[in-house]
């Protein structure tokens, strides 16, 4: 077995499962077996990635690559880079994938396209793992697009529903906006950047100053464009709430735990470049901070249980981005890891509720705690973890982010800290609003009165994820498989590790206040949300409509894009087509003139021939004096 092939198997197994299911598992009579290969493959991937994590934690990064293509002087490689970051990420991806697939067996039971669903899901898992393990930026881009297409296919899984088809298209087009930046970054690197793409080589080149400052900044900003699209950062976040049209396990896996984190992963992967471009880092921090705050305010006024979680995901991704931006590399990646567990958990509990009630509207739920105890308790664990209460996972990672903002060297880091802290309050509020509305109080609909707990195949992953969400904070001390603490395992340079006690206390206080307010408003009815909305109708409408950003994009699309298109259409019709048609017209008109020469008069032709011969004779003999003397003089 060649070196590194063990690592290739990590993405390879799910991709093989995809081929297997796509080839044999799509017919209705074969569909029942479709989950088997993918679950087996993901078990293998999980085992191999944990082994890889233990190996690289002890032996350092492993890289294997072989040349793939030569384009001019540029050489493209295919390879794997397994270091602490990618090994950890692979473990998270394969673990969450595995649990979500098991859950899907129950959730998708009886759906049309059951086999197709598992084929797409295994393609996604394989592509995501391959994205993580890529050792160069071109390969990353390839799999980046593959996970994008999987996201498109799965959002539009119920493609007969027009809203699902539209949401899939929207997700595809909006992320494509960002991907354009990513592609441009790759092209910039190939034309101005020595033609090296490998992350290790790039890190070397950047360290030795072989890349100019301007190039690094430009590449970083463009890469961040791609990350903004994928990780749903403001203002490209608008696709993620709509992506909730897909099946809920899809949202849990792709739109909460893994694919949307790919943008954060990309920034973390190329952090050696960002570290040399302070301007780009500042942009990352500002965008992240705006996103985390705006998305949290949008979640507050949302009534669709899945969309609340979608906004929450956007907000948490904003936390991760901001952490990377303010220099908290460890904090950002730590939050990515813990968030993957508790957000996947929350989505799966939402799926469990939707599975039982067949509605997404929280106002048609209520009192489900009695009927669905497992879902209710696991959701509570997830909500507490998201709100950031100790000792659950979210507390430790969010606390590190707040500390990173607190101690950051960036100008205006107090603003970042203040907004992040305010968002802790908002997060706790919207999450417990969701929990109280869904699981406590009286039933507000007929469906809620007849709800049943989900089957064990769905409940078991919930329990496992809840346990993970509860204890994942322990990774701060020791990451399973490596025996090292998270901070030693995932670090960039010598990072400021201090944790501010004051920040910690403030964050716990804000979270408790948020929970208390949610309790007062939606459980104890001490304050009336309706009265609040009536008092501030404008604010309510603003939040309800998600700051009108969708409207703004529509206007942008209609005004700017359509106007631009009209301009380009004119250019195309008159200049581009004009040139083509002009050539044709010129030929036609010229021929009209030339055809007059063709008189049909034989004698005219003969005359032309004779004159031609005479002209040719004069031309040949004109200068040749001896020829003339021969004709004229005889011998």
């Amino acid at each position: 077995m060649p070196a590194g092939s063990e690592y290739l198997l990590i993405p390879g197994l799910p991709l093989l499962a995809f081929l297997l299911v796509a080839a044999f598992g799509l017919r209705p009579q074969d569909e029942r077996a479709a989950p088997v290969p993918i679950i087996a493959a993901l078990c293998g991937s999980l085992y191999l990635s944990l082994r890889a994590l233990a190996h690289v934690a002890a032996a350092g990064p492993q890289e294997f690559s072989f040349p793939w293509l030569y384009v001019g002087t540029v050489q493209l490689d295919i390879g794997v880079l397994v270091d602490n970051l990618s090994a950890l990420m692979m473990a998270v991806v394969s673990l969450v994938s595995l649990l979500v697939q098991i859950y899907s067996i129950g959730y998708m039971k009886g759906e049309i396209g059951y086999g197709r669903y598992f084929a797409y899901m295994s393609l996604f898992s394989g592509s995501m793992l391959a994205l993580v393990i890529s050792d160069n930026i071109v390969q990353t881009y390839i799999f980046w697009e593959l996970v994008g297409i999987c996201s498109y296919l799965l959002i539009g899984f119920w493609y007969r529903r027009p809203s699902a088809a539209a949401a899939a298209k929207k997700a595809f087009v909006v992320t494509r906006f960002g991907d354009l930046g990513f592609l441009t970054a790759v092209l910039l690197l190939s034309s101005f950047g020595l033609g090296i793409f490998g992350f290790t080589d790039l890190a070397h080149a950047a360290e030795q100053g072989a890349l100019s400052k301007g190039l690094i900044t430009a590449v970083c900003l463009l890469l961040f464009c791609g990350a903004m699209g994928k990780s749903a950062q403001f203002p490209l976040h608008i696709w993620l709430p709509d992506a909730m049209e897909g099946p809920t396990p899809v949202s849990a896996l792709i739109h909460a735990a893994t694919m949307v984190a790919a943008g954060v992963y990309l920034v973390a992967r190329t952090y050696f470049l960002f570290a040399l471009a302070p301007a780009a880092l500042l942009v990352v921090a500002i965008i992240g901070c705006l996103t985390l705050f705006l998305a949290a305010t949008m979640a507050v006024a949302e009534n669709d249980i899945k969309r609340v979680m979608a906004y929450s995901t956007i907000s948490q991704l904003g936390y991760m981005m901001m952490a990377l931006g303010v220099g908290g590399y460890t904090a950002g990646v730590f939050h990515l890891t813990t968030h993957a567990f508790f957000k996947a958990l929350l989505f799966l509990t939402a799926g469990s509720v939707i599975h039982a009630l067949h509605t997404n509207d929280m106002w048609r739920m209520g009192g489900l705690g009695k009927r669905m105890p497992i879902t209710s308790i696991t959701c509570l664990v997830g909500a507490l973890a998201l709100a950031g209460l100790p000792p659950l996972a979210g507390f430790w990672s969010k606390d590190e982010i707040l500390s990173a903002a607190w101690y950051s060297q960036l100008p205006g880091h107090w603003v970042f800290f203040a907004l992040a802290l305010a968002t802790v309050f908002l997060t706790a509020f919207y999450m417990f609003r969701l929990w109280f509305l869904t699981f406590t109080g009286g039933e507000r609909s007929e469906e809620a009165r007849h709800a049943h707990e989900s089957p064990w195949v769905m409940a078991a992953p919930l329990v496992i994820l809840a346990a993970l969400a509860a204890v994942a904070g322990g990774m701060k001390v020791s990451v399973p498989g490596s025996g090292e603490g998270f901070g030693e395992l995932i670090r960039f340079g010598d990072e400021h590790e201090a944790v501010s006690r004051l920040a910690m206390a403030l964050s716990i206080g804000a979270a408790l206040a948020g929970i208390a307010l949610a309790w007062a408003a939606y459980r104890a009815n001490l304050v009336s949300p309706a009265a609040f909305n009536a008092r501030l109708p404008r604010l309510y409408r603003l939040l309800k409509n998600a700051w009108y950003l969708n409207r703004a994009w529509e206007l942008f699309a209609i005004r700017v894009v359509i106007a631009g298109s009209v301009l380009f259409a004119w250019f195309d019709r008159h200049v581009v087509d004009g040139m083509v048609n002009g050539v044709a017209w010129l030929c036609g008109a010229g021929s009209q003139q030339l055809r007059r020469l063709q008189t049909g008069q034989v004698q005219l032709y003969a005359l032309v021939i004779a004159l031609g011969i005479i002209a040719a004779l004069i031309a040949v003999l004109g200068g040749a004096a001896h020829g003339l003397t021969f004709i004229g003089g005889g011998r």
């Binding site: 055809r595 007059r596 020469l597 063709q598 008189t599 049909g600 008069q601 034989v602 004698q603 003969a606 005359l607 004779a610 005889g634 011998r635």
Partner: protein, 107 residues
């Protein structure tokens, strides 16, 4: 030096050129297809005179000039036969042998 060589080469060439010019003029200006054919024959014979004259005044003792003249005569006979056949068919089709009026190939 006999009586034949007393006539200089230029005389033959002048006669030949004149015949050729007359033939060409006939081809170009006469309307009657048969007259055009006659012009062509004149031009062929002008060439024949050249062949024979150059043979006679040339250094070579070979028979090429004469042989060529005979070949041209043969060709002229064949050409006349074919051309007359064509003219006959043209007459049947157009009821005229006036080449001005036969302009089906006008573009």
């Amino acid at each position: 030096m006999n009586w034949v060589t007393a006539v200089p080469l230029q005389a033959y060439l002048t006669l030949s050129a004149a015949l050729f010019a007359i033939g060409l003029l006939g081809v170009l200006v006469r309307r009657n297809a048969i007259a055009v054919l006659l012009g062509v024959e004149l031009m062929l014979n002008a060439a024949n005179i050249n062949f024979v004259a150059f043979w006679r005044y040339g250094s070579s003792a070979n028979m090429e000039g004469q042989v060529f003249a005979v070949i041209v005569m043969t060709l002229a006979a064949a050409e006349a036969a074919i051309a007359l056949a064509i003219i006959l068919n043209v007459y049947r089709r157009f009821k005229t042998v006036n080449v001005d009026q036969i302009n089906l190939m006008k573009g």
